[in-house]
Symmetry: C2
Subunit: 740 residues, 2 copies
């Protein structure tokens, strides 16, 4: 490929991008597309008021959305879209920063050295082959390789400094998020699984006795998880209804007293009276349990959610080994209510380890099986092989148009289509794995897709050759550096076009929301539906994070080898930053919070990319016979690994646990301000179990927020709640009767 | 090597063993050897009463010790030598059981099949080459390979069943040990490291404030760890003296009251009055701290031991993340006092991760560097190479005696001598690693030596060839099975003689205690010292466990390949069981308790050996072209890995932590019986810090036991204690004055 061809390709892609972005700026102004482009805002019901008037301005492309997306503060994004979006955008900020530095260093330092590597007469630059810009153009034993080595040092050190800064910043943000957000029921609740069954006691009593016995001072209550049984559902609903009723009554009563007493010391009374009612109810329920159906249902109970009085007590119960048999009384901190993945709670705990191994095996197997479509694509690109495979197609294959379609267009379509099967499959794997929370499932899928992308997009393409060749590489890890060093520069052209087409195009398709747009168009204009469907999806971290990280990896891997890729990447990151900011602000609706848990994944992948860059450089310096540069690179490699280990020591635990200090402070604040009793009451109703059939999907559950309302609001809410509850109970009764 | 040669070699070794054991049975009856052969009993001072009379019987070899060793119950061994010895002996019991089964299966099933593998005329058996007994004698594609496959299944399944049984048994023993042994100060104490320094507060106050603030209900007291400073030592001693004095006073007072009141409810009063005294003292000490030397000493303090009121509180504090910076307020459950490795407590916590990586790198490097002496030994075995290396030795090398010595004897001496450097070096590595307890250091060294043995004795000898060859194997993991399958049967003869010489001989040298015996002889008979020196060493698990595990590995690796090794191994295990039982009962003195923590290491190594056996079998079946057997072996391999993972899930955590249930029950028992106050008092004096210079060695510290004395004993002890304390304090003052 010549330099001019690359420029042409870039020009075409830039034009397309500009076109799509203009199209977006027009389409977003059309009222019938609001549901596509402002899903989040619609979900928050602030956007409906806009009047549907026509103006000529609606047909003009404008850049207003870019300005809005750019000027929005981070705090605002955190408030509307959660910490995870902030973390995702920080990844872009990091990428922009590090690739600006890399661009500077490599375009003005490494590129001229590569270009003048061989003693040759350079022709007019646009007619130059792209190979003269890569490290393949350097002579063996060239003294100028120290430029590459210095560039390597500059890139690695600045990446490490920036990464450390980001890790620290995000860890601080995470802490502020934990301490600053409203009380989260997940912090007070522990999921207990694998409860031992005793013959002469109901499971419900077993759980109560265990926690009253060993965590008596902090145990509040518990809620069983049922696998099946409508009666159970009914009893549960009735209990919830009763509790709500009690609360409403109390809050009405409370309202009156409170206004007189100004909230001093009365909370205690209120809670204990509530407790009184509750205990009565529990007693009433106990006598109910002589029913054989209830006993049957309890036998199938795979676990319970246990509520504690303080956050600290919950985290202690979740981290300390409960029983001397580690397979019994397994405790984990419960996810927040809207994050619970109910259908996995019904999975018996003793299956989990087996499921994890099976999933791991299946993912690895799938990764390698996927080489088959890649090999098929490669064989499609070679016409001769194709003719052999399908002899009766020979006639059609003689036409030049058909040839062009079959060899040029079809392969990438096949590859793209087979790539589209990956995220749903990996999500299914992650569900099967037995993750108890939606966020855990997403994180797990994200890691799997990341591995898959790095292996199947980067390695398989770099090592392109026969399938056997690729497998052989795995069996000879020692030859990896020199093999990569030889093959990576050759594939530079492919990956530059990959960034242009897959990277830039994916951003355009992301902002246009093509699928939803078309669906909406047909729905409204062809089938004439008038209502606005809601497109409030949660952000697809599991597909977007691996994509961005893959581009990071490409950037680092090619930085020294073929610096021409860097400007295109930098444009991708800048554009991506704006596009995703816009999408996060307008389109996606955060259904649950992962608390920035994806950052360690991102950090580790970037460190891996740095190490990969150094390993490739090591191979290059060995091939080019520059022992000094090799030595310095090994030093850098050791330094990078030590740095990564330090970061793990310093930050990793923050993202997996909460510190006693913070939790105790939070508990104290709540106790001193008297909010604790309110929290305890809300806690008991926080976890609403969806029936087995409906809990699987991502969109199955309406988010429940546990926010302390101001007292004036409470009464009207309560009466509304009461109505709902009555409705619920009557529905349940009706259902129960129908079943009988 | 012929079969008869093997029998001759075995006969010679059996004769030697019999000789050494008889010698032992005579030597142990000589009174001047008591200190060598009854170190533990002497240390417990029960053995001194024996009268030194001469009888002719003393010169006759007897088997009484074998009977005594055999009939001793496990419970007795646990009581005198701790749980670790029991676990070590269980390893022998497991080995004897599994290798009895393996012997049966392989000698009567596999061996005849191997022997009749080729269609050939068999000569008289003793003249047969040993090769006809190995799997190398089987034809390609032989149908009789299913015998090997069935044997593989029988061995693996019985090993898994036995292992599971052992794991369960030892886990139960460990729990019984934890709940049954006297209160351990380590269960109440948490080691806190990396305490943040605040400018306007002394470290002592920082610690107190932190724990009073966040663990107020359970915090009892704390003890700083000082790096240097005699004054600090002095202040500490004074505090300890004061505390002991108070206790003596109280216990005298208590004694009087107690006899009247029969121990009812007075403990509370006693403790609070004690607390009163203590607080006064703390106040007094606080004013002392204006001294700049104290401030200086506190600056260097790397941590503190914090005491809690209950075991549960201590484990909670040790497991929950304390601060939002995981590198600050790092908590670990403290080792028991005699197990603390003081000199490592002075290592700043922020160095630990770096030290661990450095140690790992150094150990791996040493493992590979050790190939050099092995290669040197190999080159010594080849005379031609030797002549080239040392041309001026040509004259000497012509004599046949010299040749025999240089090629036959010297190589193994060189290898043995270089192998002797390994355990001390690995112990040094493990000390450098920063382990806070002696037991942790020993466990870590044990793992390192284990890896080293498996690599340098098994792999390097099997893959014997040039150094480069061995390294190449690592870079081609795929070829490993077939390479092993080809090479392992060839090395059968070498390893059979290895079992005979290294295994049996090591047992004889172990029971004779050659080094101590000679030292003792020179000391008493040549230099005429009359006193009995104490040879009360703690059991060298770090060298013995890897040795036994290596023989296990050899047994499994060769079971199918060359079953002739099995009877010799079985003899080794039976003899070893008796010898080590005897040594544990008589010679070694347990200085600290590891609580059976070595079992998971043993279990994992045995599972690894099983997997290795299967991998080698896989290679053999591939070479012998038996696809069905290959398929079944792969199934077995997957099953073994799943089994190992299940064991990890089921048992592993028990060996690293204590369960809340057990600890709370223990706490309750102690509280209800009123012992808790006594425990708290003992706790404050339990950790006696040795000065930096003397704390390093293994023999530096006299074991302190924390046993609840009966009240009558207490008074006399107390007065003795008081005298000691006064002596201590006056010594300290003297030292302090000398320093000034």
């Amino acid at each position: 490929m010549e330099f001019s061809a690359l420029l042409t390709s870039a020009g075409i892609n830039i034009a397309f991008c500009a076109l799509f972005l203009s199209l977006y700026s027009i389409l977003r102004k059309q009222p019938h597309n609001y549901s596509v482009y402002f899903g989040r805002r619609l979900a928050e019901e602030k956007f409906r008021q806009q009047v549907d008037y026509f103006s000529f301005e609606r047909l003009l492309p404008t850049a207003g959305w870019i300005v809005k997306a750019y000027w929005c503060t981070e705090e605002e994004i955190r408030r509307v879209a959660g910490l995870d979006s902030v973390v995702f955008l920080r990844l872009f900020i990091f990428s922009i920063r590090i690739f600006s530095i890399t661009c500077l260093v490599c375009l003005f330092g490494v590129l001229p050295v590569n270009y003048h590597g061989q003693e040759m007469n350079h022709t007019y630059i646009p007619e130059e082959s792209l190979n003269v810009f890569t490290i393949a153009n350097m002579k063996e034993g060239s003294a100028m390789l120290w430029v590459h080595c210095v560039a390597l040092y500059v890139i690695t050190i600045s990446a490490c400094v920036l990464l450390f800064h980001e890790y620290k910043y995000i860890a601080r943000k995470r802490l502020a998020h934990v301490t600053g957000s409203p009380p989260n029921p997940g912090h007070f609740s522990v999921l207990v699984r694998s409860i031992p069954k005793s013959g002469n006691e109901l499971l419900d009593d077993t759980i109560r006795n265990f926690f009253v016995n060993y965590h008596g001072s902090s145990y509040l209550s518990h809620q069983m998880i049922y696998r099946k049984g409508n009666l159970q559902q009914f009893v549960d609903n009735a209990e919830r209804a009763y509790r709500k009723f009690v609360r409403v009554k109390l809050s009405v009563f409370d309202q009156n007293v409170r206004s007189n007493l100004n909230r001093c010391g009365l909370c205690g009374v209120r809670a204990s009276s509530f407790q009184l009612y509750r205990n009565k109810f529990v007693d009433a329920k106990k006598s109910d349990l002589s029913d054989p159906e209830v006993v049957e249902a309890q036998k199938d109970c795979p676990g319970a959610i246990v509520f504690f009085k303080t956050r600290y007590a919950a985290i202690v119960a979740s981290q300390v080994l409960q029983s001397s048999n580690p397979m019994l009384w397994v405790t984990n901190l419960a996810p927040e209510p809207r994050d619970v993945y109910w259908s996995n709670l019904w999975v018996p705990y003793r299956q989990i380890w087996l499921r994890k191994i099976a999933t791991l095996a299946a993912s690895v197997a799938f990764m390698f099986v996927f080489i088959v479509p890649v090999a098929f694509v490669q064989s499609m690109m070679q016409l001769d092989q194709l003719k052999e495979m399908f002899p009766n197609l020979k006639g059609a294959l003689k036409m030049s148009f058909c040839v062009r379609v079959v060899t040029g267009y079809l392969p990438s379509v096949v590859l793209l289509l087979s790539l589209y099967t990956v995220p749903p499959l990996m999500m299914r794997f992650s569900s099967f794995e037995g993750s108890i929370s939606r966020s855990g499932r997403k994180t797990s899928a994200c890691t799997k897709i990341l591995f898959f992308n790095i292996w199947n997009v980067f390695f398989v393409n770099v090592l392109s050759g026969s399938v056997l060749n690729q497998l052989n590489v795995l069996t000879r890890p020692k030859d990896m550096p020199s093999m990569l060093a030889e093959l990576v520069p050759k594939q530079a052209t492919f990956f530059i076009t990959y960034v242009l087409t897959s990277g830039w195009a994916s951003l355009c398709s992301e902002i246009l929301q093509v699928y939803n747009l078309v669906y909406n168009f047909f729905r409204k204009c062809v089938f004439c539906h008038q209502d606005n469907p809601e497109y409030a999806y949660s952000f697809p971290y599991q597909t977007e994070v691996p994509k961005v990280l893959l581009f990071n990896l490409l950037g680092f891997a090619f930085a020294i080898m073929a610096p021409l890729i860097l400007p295109f990447l930098l444009v991708y990151f800048c554009l991506g930053y704006l596009v995703y900011r816009n999408q996060i602000l307008n389109v996606y609706y955060p259904k649950y919070e992962m608390g920035g848990k994806l950052w360690p994944v991102m950090h580790n992948t970037i460190v891996f990319s740095l190490v990969l860059m150094q390993v490739i450089a090591l191979g290059v310096f060995t091939i080019k016979k520059s022992p000094v540069a090799t030595g310095f690179t090994i030093l850098l490699l050791i330094g990078t690994i030590l740095y990564s280990e330090y970061c793990r020591q310093r930050f990793s635990r923050i993202f997996h646990s909460y510190s006693a200090q913070d939790l105790i402070e939070l508990d104290r604040d709540d106790e001193q301000s008297g909010r604790m009793q309110d929290i305890h009451q809300h806690l008991l109703d926080a976890y609403c179990q969806t029936p087995p059939g409906t809990g699987g999907g991502d969109n199955g559950q309406v988010p429940i927020e546990m926010i302390m309302e101001d007292p004036a609001q409470e009464v009207s809410d309560s009466s509304q709640e009461l109505c709902d509850t009555v409705q619920e109970v009557s529905d349940s009764i009706q259902e129960h009767i129908d079943d009988k």
